[in-house]
Amino acid sequence: MSKRRSGGIMIVVGTLIVGFILSQMPLPSMLVWWRPEWVAMIVIYWVMALPHRFGIGMAWVSGLALDVLKGSLLGMNALSLTTIAFITLILHRRLRMYPLWQQAMMVLVLVGINQLIFHWIQSLTGSTGDTLVFLLPAVVSAILWPWVFVVLRGIRRTFHVN
């Protein structure tokens, strides 16, 4: 039992690392505003699927790692990811019942909250523009959610992470 548990954690951490890499991948300058929030989506999935194992603590740690990777203010991603993980935790029973498109709507809201928190903190520290383009990643994440969900569910079932 315990052996299987540790294996499951490795799978979760593995998907997070893939998320980190995707979030750092260079994009053409046209698409730079359209980058989906990979790590946020992966965190939402694992909190929804395994709320008893992947909680807000893990979300906080992965947020901190993302902060270091992105060079943003230390704790910014930790704060936003913890917040959306907490909301997902409250909603996870409902989210599991939703059809995929409705889940995608929730992802839109959650990643939107994530982006809003970024925007607030960035405007507090004085580096931001005055447009709403910072919300675009939420839209892109919602559009990509069904595929991310199916892939992560496939991974979870293949490796019996539960």
């Binding site: 890499i21 060079g71 203010l73 960035q122």
Partner: protein, 292 residues
């Protein structure tokens, strides 16, 4: 279904984490001591940065291997003709340098000092479009320090804002938080070039309407901030708008460095006031230019 949370939703834990994150942010903003913690954390994340850079690296290597003879020959001839042109320019360099030195002695000015440089390779770009930052594959181990100026082949690129053991983070001059003291090469008029958050644009602040500044003027670093060495090209003035309704004219400039294209960059050892004396004495022996 089993009850999942024995104690319900972990609200208290959530508040603790939020407060912890806020404490981190405040201390990151206010105290330089968190930098050490950050260095350690960056060390853990360095492999991921290398991993992200891998495809580009492989593509670079492949394009080195899979290159046709014809394009090699073409490159070769082109480079040869460039070398001849550059050689011709360098011919007079020696005599001009000595002449400059003599004139400076006559004016009892200081000798101009050449800067030590170190070659570094780009390994990552900050994906956040609000922050113009790049990551280089040199760190504390290679003697990189906070605030070190970075150049590319064409001009000033930015400065180091974060150093870890094997990597460092460079803020570009176009970042919205960056400002750089410059002067016009033609007449020495001084100004401050601010980044605007766009890669193709800098803005000169507080330029009076009467200032002698024209489109096409070259801006070079003035060295006044004590951070960037004197005389490196920064930008070319692209537009000057003199609006009588405004207290200052609006001057825009295009950066000289290829901010989004350069892969090989130079880290410059700046010459500070107290170091200047000693460097002056043993200039030729100690200061050497890296020929690349």
């Amino acid at each position: 279904m089993n009850p999942i949370f024995k104690g319900g939703i972990p609200r208290l834990f959530f508040f603790v984490l939020v407060i912890l994150a806020i404490v981190f942010m405040v201390s990151d903003l206010n105290s330089p001591r968190t930098r050490d913690a950050r260095n350690v954390l960056s060390l853990i994340m360095t492999p991921i940065q290398w991993l992200v850079d891998m495809p580009t690296r492989i593509a670079d290597d492949l394009s080195d291997v899979l290159v046709s003879r014809r394009s090699l020959v073409k490159d070769n001839t082109q480079l040869r003709s460039e070398v001849i042109l550059l050689d011709q320019k360098v011919q007079q360099m020696d005599s001009l340098t000595t002449e400059n030195l003599r004139l400076r002695e006559l004016l009892s000015g200081r000798e101009r000092i050449r800067n030590n440089v170190q070659l570094a390779e780009l390994i990552g770009v900050n994906p956040d479009p609000f922050q113009h930052q790049i990551i280089l594959g040199k760190g504390l181990e290679d003697g990189v320090f906070m605030g070190q100026p970075v150049l590319d082949a064409r001009g000033v690129l930015g400065q180091v804002v974060d150093v870890s053991h094997y990597t460092c983070r460079v803020m570009l001059i176009t970042d919205a938080r960056h400002a750089l003291p410059v002067e016009i090469n033609r007449n020495g008029f001084r100004a401050i070039a601010l980044g605007k958050g766009s890669l193709e644009e800098l803005e000169l602040e507080y330029v009076p309407d009467t200032a002698d500044i024209r489109v096409g003027d070259l801006l070079v670093s003035s060295g006044l901030g004590g951070r960037f060495p004197y005389g490196y090209p920064v930008a070319t003035v692209s537009s000057v708008v003199r609006d009588p309704g405004r207290p200052f004219s609006r001057v825009k400039a295009v950066p000289a460095a290829r901010l989004d294209k350069s892969r090989h960059l130079l880290l410059v050892e700046p010459v500070t006031e107290n170091r200047e004396e000693s460097v002056n004495q043993q200039e030729s022996s100690e200061v050497q230019m890296l020929n690349e």
